[in-house]
Assembly symmetry: C3
Homo-oligomer: 278 residues x 3
């Protein structure tokens, strides 16, 4: 368990390798996401070179899951039917050994949301990706901490430092990788822990960019990479694209356009040169 | 009741003040809107500095409503489940004193749409925001006028002048503010009436920009401003951003990008300099 | 049946005429489409000069259909409720003589998808628009061929040549026009057959641009043009706008913005000058 800490160069090299891997193997990623993020999540996956499939009906998931490289579940704009669709899909994923990403949008906000997310958690996500506030709330509702607080509406109001203990406990308890994103992104599998410091404040002004990051992480996971590496790599590439897009942006909408364009052209060299540890 | 007519300077100064207020207090706005407008409504709220929460499940609204500053209901892409979700949310809003905006998309189009909207109207919106044709159709189905006509599909085919009597009657009957938008925007609380003349014809070529205006109005309403002031201010700021965005646009999509960018950077000074009465 | 082959000039002249026709008569197009394509399908129709109406509730379609010029049905993000809504709408369209476009997204992917699409096929679409892989899969599940293969997820992996026999059989069997799109677009009514070669590889990197093409075809169909001419014209105009948008694009998102802007300004002259046969 005491492997050497990852260097800047390790992380950058791996991210560059997986970035190319997504383009080369075009992983098919099934995404069950909220109504706000449908367009941007699919466009982020396409720009990355992956193949999105927004398939959610419980009549389809058990059959469709066999064809996909990874599944992404996002609990925004949750409904009863949606919660059932998510449960069917995650059970199917587990049955067929398809790794999946959980994005627990809105956790801590209502009982219905919390109960749904706890039920999904039993089906063993490979990666949990939320903002720092969501990770804090999720660890609490899972009974792992007593820490108060959580998102304000859907917004992040906590730092990576504040989320660290929650993220570690959640990762150990669920035997998965946890990514708590914000100004600093923190990724841990319970043992290893990486902090990354790229990105732009404009990323919080574009709706569903976090949801789309979960989808993007699914593409890296779909390569067969271990979840910790997939998550570090996806977060590094995504935040660096954010840095680059912010350079010429006049506001959130021109930022969004530039961001997706840059995901399409981003190179391993960009990652090596720009990666910042947090 | 006989307060002096509002001057250009009054309206502009108040809009400038509320514009800053949204950025300073970041009101949490719950939005139950149609499937077409999800992305743009959330992005408009984020660009404005507000915090959107697209929460609609009837299992969640009664609990979630306590945290929000305002609620926005939009009846586009209506379903039976959606109609029930809207009714639960508006009842919860009324119970907890949360002011809400009704955007009666498609009113006059079908019986199902009309019956749903009439049911919602009983729960006392603070603002009704529709295009002129929708306001005319809504006043008629509410039994307040005999005026024929309404939208063509979802499109506005009436002027502010044609909608004036309907808007006034609706405002008096519902004890609320009514905003009938179009080339000229008309806002009335039944006594006071303001006409604003900013905006660009390109605004009708971008889907759901009216829906997003209702969401934007919710942010101003969420500051605790009186509904008439909130509505005048939101419409003034929004249409002025439209003027500014049209200046460099090559078509509806570059207009949309510029428009959201400008909502992010718009200043009180822009409003004071550009406001035009209708 | 042996009418002379269409010349380049015939096709371009007709496309130019219908392009203007859409702007002049602003056909109201009812669209029941998947959750990913809502925004872009509506924006494409608005940019083209048509009037989109995203109305899908089974309570509304039988009443609303009487007002519309064409209906578009797209089976992406399918649910049980959605399948029922589509069936109600297509029956209503047939009853009232409203021509409709079927976009069989995901056909061949799951039993549920296939059964739903076969049921819809009985209600006689005027145009079936899919990518080449979807057309191959659809002809097979309709029992017309034994050809293996179909989309990979939602992606096209076949050429126009590979789809030709399937497209012809489908068109003859369903007495409709079939458009199989890809690098080369193929349009046939079973007798006539046209290949068009405009477009850009970036079009596959923007989500739902195929879905939006089906909606765009609905606008041309809504003019009362015969389905084969409507389909040829819509595909020609759309792919030429793709050529033009690709010229200055930096990636999929700036391409999308330019594409919608160009649909707004595209001229008959652009079509005449740029049309390429495949």
């Amino acid at each position: 368990m005491n492997e050497p800490a990852r260097t800047h160069d390790d992380i950058a090299a791996e991210a560059a390798r997986l970035l190319d891997g997504v383009r080369a193997s075009r992983p098919l990623v099934q995404v069950i996401t909220n109504l706000v993020s449908m367009d941007i999540a699919a466009n982020v996956l396409l720009a990355a070179g992956a193949a999105p499939a927004m398939v959610h009906a419980p009549q389809e998931s058990p059959e469709f899951i066999r064809k996909v490289a990874a599944l992404v579940i996002n609990t925004g704009t949750l409904t009863q039917a949606g919660a059932e669709a998510m449960e069917v899909a995650t059970i199917a994923a587990r049955t067929h050994g398809v790794p999946w990403v959980l994005d627990p949008v809105g956790v801590g906000g209502t009982k219905f949301r919390d109960e749904t997310i706890l039920r999904l958690l039993r089906h063993r996500p490979a990666i949990i990706r939320g903002n720092s506030s969501e990770i804090i709330a999720l660890a609490r509702i899972a009974g792992l901490t007593q820490e108060a607080g959580g998102p304000r509406g859907m917004d992040n109001v906590h730092s990576a430092d504040e989320a660290e203990a929650s993220a570690r406990k959640l990762a150990r308890h669920c035997l998965c990788t946890v990514a708590a994103t914000g100004a600093i992104d923190l990724i841990t599998d319970g043992q290893r822990l990486v902090r990354l410091a790229n990105g732009s404040p404009l990323m919080e002004r574009v709706t569903a960019l976090g949801c789309a990051l979960s989808a993007y992480s699914g593409a890296f996971l779909g390569l067969g990479a271990d979840p910790f590496s997939a998550s570090c790599s996806a977060l590094a590439a995504y935040a660096i694209a954010g840095d680059m897009a912010a350079e010429g942006a006049k506001g959130p909408a021109s930022f969004r356009t530039a961001f997706i364009d840059i995901l399409f052209t981003l190179s391993g060299e960009d990652i090596v040169q720009r990666l910042r540890r947090g």
